[in-house]
Amino acid sequence: MQPHELLDQMQRAGLANLSFASPWAARLFGMTLAAAQKKIFSLQEFQQALIASIQLHEQDGCIDSDEQYYTCWLEALQGLLEQQDLIKPERLGVREDQLLAAAQDRHDHQRSGHHHPHHADSEHHA
């Protein structure tokens, strides 16, 4: 991030409350705080994991976007959960495939079921 970009970013952030940069960033933040509240790990442990992840990332280049920052966050959280044996990498891959397939099904179903997707759906079944 160049000097003028720091200022640009500052002006863009303005004074309003910031919301999350993306829905997945919000879920990561929420999961981390909720997990700490339930004492699955402490925020200090998470902080250490995040520091390590950021250090690793910064060996390859600077962090200057929320996407890069929350990618570090994701890696930190995943690492902690794997360490505690709550998540297994192979299960994660399988679940990702399942979620993607389910999303694809929903998408295909919507396309075939609604020829006028911009019209309000009047055939909702409760």
Binding site: M1, P3, L6, L7, Q9, M10, A13, L15, A16, N17, L18, S19, F20, S22, P23, W24, A26, R27, F29, G30, M31, L33, A34, A35, A36, Q37, K38, I40, L43, Q44, Q47, L50, I51, I54, Q55, E58, C62, I63, D64, S65, D66, E67, Y69, L74, L77, Q78, L81, L86, I87, R91, L92, R95, E96, L99, L100, A103, Q104, H107, D108, R111
Partner: protein, 203 residues
């Protein structure tokens, strides 16, 4: 318009969803608990929270003393705080001392007081340069400080979080606490901006 019917999703979004789904399944984390945290940070907490603390400190000298002695306890008097912050150190700006906060190793931030940090606070540039050349970085961010002003940089390490208590702007003697809170900016509470003198003609 694209005719590609394949779903596209950022890998981070998919990975995050998979983690949440697995944690749900084994009963470690309930999505409702995650919703609660997200909702709290989207709706209830933000820089306006910190601004209330600052305004109270300006109008109530006894509160100000308590705030400087124990930030978290004083914030709790206003119903502000959360388990995310264990220790809050409030730094008082004066005519000759300017405080500014950074987290050089990651991005520690007093979430329950200020909400989510802006993207520049998390950037490599801010984190790596502020300690080394604070005067220059602040100047680049639009804050020029005189040579007679000492700059103190506070690195949010371990469990301590920092909040800068800016100086009350001139010309605000007649304002109410709520009106004062409106003047306080997030950037001033991080220490990268001053609060401008109050423009009476503009109100």
């Amino acid at each position: 318009m694209s005719h590609d019917h394949k779903i596209e999703k950022a890998w981070q979004a998919l990975r995050t969803e998979a983690i949440e789904s697995l944690l749900n399944e084994i009963g470690v984390l309930d999505s409702a608990e995650v919703d609660q945290v997200v909702h709290h940070y989207e709706e209830n907490v933000g820089p306006r929270t910190g601004a209330k603390v600052v305004a109270r400190a300006w109008v109530d000298p006894a509160f100000r003393q308590r705030l400087l002695a124990n930030g978290l306890a004083a914030c709790a008097e206003l119903g502000i705080g959360g388990p995310e912050t264990e220790s809050l150190h409030v730094l008082e700006n004066t005519a000759t001392v300017h405080n500014v906060v950074v987290c050089t190793l990651c991005s520690c931030y007093p979430w329950p007081i200020l909400g989510l940090p802006p993207v520049w606070y998390k950037s490599s540039a801010y984190r790596s340069r502020l300690v080394r050349e604070p005067r220059k970085v602040l100047q680049e961010m639009g804050l020029t400080l005189g040579d007679d002003v000492e700059i103190r940089v506070w690195d949010s390490i371990s469990e301590i979080r920092y909040l800068v208590l800016p100086e009350r702007p001139e010309g605000t003697e007649h304002l109410s606490e709520a009106e004062l809170a409106e003047l306080v900016s997030r950037d001033a509470m991080i220490g990268v901006a001053h609060l401008p003198a109050h423009d009476i003609a503009g109100t």
